[in-house]
Amino acid sequence: MTELKDIPETSETRFGDFGGQYVPETLMTELEKLTACFNEAEADPDFQAEFHRLLNEYANRPSLLYFAKRMTEDLGGAKIYLKREDLNHTGAHKINNVLGQVLLARRLGKTRLIAETGAGQHGVATATVAALFGMECEVFMGKEDTERQKLNVYRMELLGAKVTAVTSGQGLLKDAVNAALQDWAARPEDTYYVIGSAMGPAPYPAMVHAFQSVISTEAKQQLQTVEGRLPDAVVACVGGGSNAIGSFAAFIGDPSVRLIGVEAAGQGVDSGKTAATLEKGSAGIFHGMKSIFLQNGDGQIDKVYSISAGLDYPGVGPEHAALQASGRADYVGITDDEAVAAFEYIAKMEGIVAAIESCHAVAYVQKLAPTMRKDQIIICTLSGRGDKDVAQIASYKGVAL
């Protein structure tokens, strides 16, 4: 059982030992303005009302908390509830945070939005909200990811965004973040950088926490309505960690609720082809934050690998690093093979094609549920829908479409 002392101490810019603002001086004035704007907005009832109106009327919230009856029976242990972020407009949890941040961007008088994207879900959400508010939008995406996620590239362009393929490094999510940070430093006056995950310099991790916490605030209330109690465990996948922090947020202060983040182990945590940052990484400073990173002894950031374009990131948000260090949350790895098996399992068992990212969480639930009693409850967040992954999974399985 978790005790309250396990909750990391937070300050204006830190979670325990992690977080901070490790960015070039050019961006510090912007971060100062953003911090002030975010603090004001948090306390402003008009901002909150507009944010929640957009969540409900545009993003289709609240999302369902769905009892997965067949999975529960099949696995023979804890009752499994799925938090259906895949049913949001644009098909993933990313829209929650984008709506909040774009409202801040408008308050700051910005006219141009930029974003990084891995699987394309955050890029699609940003392009969508840019269209909604008539703002200019440029999305940076690793070259390799633009190949893996062609459908989302076209969706972003359809929505009026410019998609820039990043060729530096491995052409993955990390490289897209580098390019977005560089672009922001080049024209900070009119540009707002919509960071999609619970990472980057303060105040981003706290903002993403605030805007994504709607996931667990709803889930807690929904479960209270149907079961009259708290869950025993909450399971969510972790790349940078936005859907996971949103899924954990309302339960962090409830010591009886186990919080489990599931990372992409790629070909195995010890295979050298992995993205299991919290299992294999060490403390470092990168992308504006002190956190845990996959890196070598000199501090050079490692190459990463996962079948999932949304999880193959060599770092993790600082609040997750702090939750792991304090012992409040546990982080485990799921391999490509396990995630693909879960992709097929949940499709056949519940009629849900879930994102390959989310299927990492589903795969861990398949292991966890049978070890728990039938009167116990797991909430598993389905962070997104899997239409974007169908072609890639078919090819992984050797099926020609």
Binding site: Q21, Y22, P24, T26, T29, I285, F286, G299
Partner: protein
């Protein structure tokens, strides 16, 4: 007083940059010696980082060549040791926060002091976070060089409070790389900085012609030239004479105002 201050005693200083290990350790030693002989007052040595977010394509490519040549942090210190057998030109490192963090701030600064690396320029360690490195740096007599940008505005006093080497003025927004124009408010920025610090003010990011160097030296205390030097090296890695000729012209342009004040 930090030894870097001496480099400014005769007037504006010329500060060229090279990436350590680009394309090899031996070449880097030869380049630094050539630059010192051509009139460099301080040499800035880049310690490569895998993801240099403040650097443009030219310096990013130099880092990749250095990694291909097998550069490590230990080898950078070996390069400095070899440089020290040939020249006592003041040296500063330019690197990213994760490199000294991972090495250990105290251990990193102690190594720097031993090899007379007099300062550190760390683009992703702003004033808000510099406190974690500052004790180790000052105990070892290594200056933490603050960066100031055209967007710094009201932050100037805060940024320069610990400046004991020099102040690095980023002359343009964005990443490193040669430019023809600089931030419009550069004159104002220099004037505002003079009100809050007596540390030498050096301007970098984009300077590549002797005319630019001479103009900057008319207002500032130092001219930092990075990408233009790195590009020369990339185009003709064996042409030491060409490097010396370019550096000499830039040094002369920077020094041209000396003695007039």
């Amino acid at each position: 007083m930090n030894p870097l201050r001496k480099a400014f005693e005769n007037g504006p200083a010329f500060i060229p940059f090279v990436t350590a290990g680009d394309p090899s350790a031996e070449k880097t030693v030869a380049y630094v010696v050539a630059l010192a002989n051509a009139g460099a007052d301080i040499v800035e040595l880049g310690v490569p980082f895998s993801d240099p977010i403040a650097d443009g394509p030219v310096i990013q490519a130099a880092g990749l060549r250095a990694f291909a040549g097998g550069i490590t942090v230990e080898r950078v210190f070996d390069i400095v040791a070899a440089i020290r057998q040939q020249t006592q030109v003041p040296l500063v490192f330019l690197t990213y926060a994760n490199i000294p963090f991972k090495y250990g701030y105290e251990r990193f600064c102690a190594r720097c002091a031993k090899l007379r690396v007099a300062g550190l320029v760390i683009p992703d360690l702003p004033a808000e976070e510099a406190g974690e490195l500052l004790p180790a740096a000052s105990q070892n007599g290594v200056a933490l060089i603050p960066l100031v940008s055209p967007t710094s505005g009201h932050r100037l006093a805060k940024l320069t409070v610990h400046a004991d080497g020099f102040v690095y003025i980023v002359s343009a927004l964005g990443v490193t790389g040669t430019r023809d124009g600089f931030a419009q408010n550069l004159d104002d920025l220099i004037a505002d900085l003079r009100k809050v610090t007596d540390a030498p003010l050096c301007v970098g990011f984009g300077i590549h012609t002797p005319e630019q160097a001479s103009a900057i030296a008319g207002q500032a205390d130092g001219v930092i030239v990075g990408s233009a030097i790195v590009k020369l090296i990339a185009d003709a890695p064996d042409d030491l004479a060409g490097l010396a000729e370019y550096a000499g012209a830039m040094a002369n342009a920077t020094h041209s105002g000396r003695g007039q004040a």
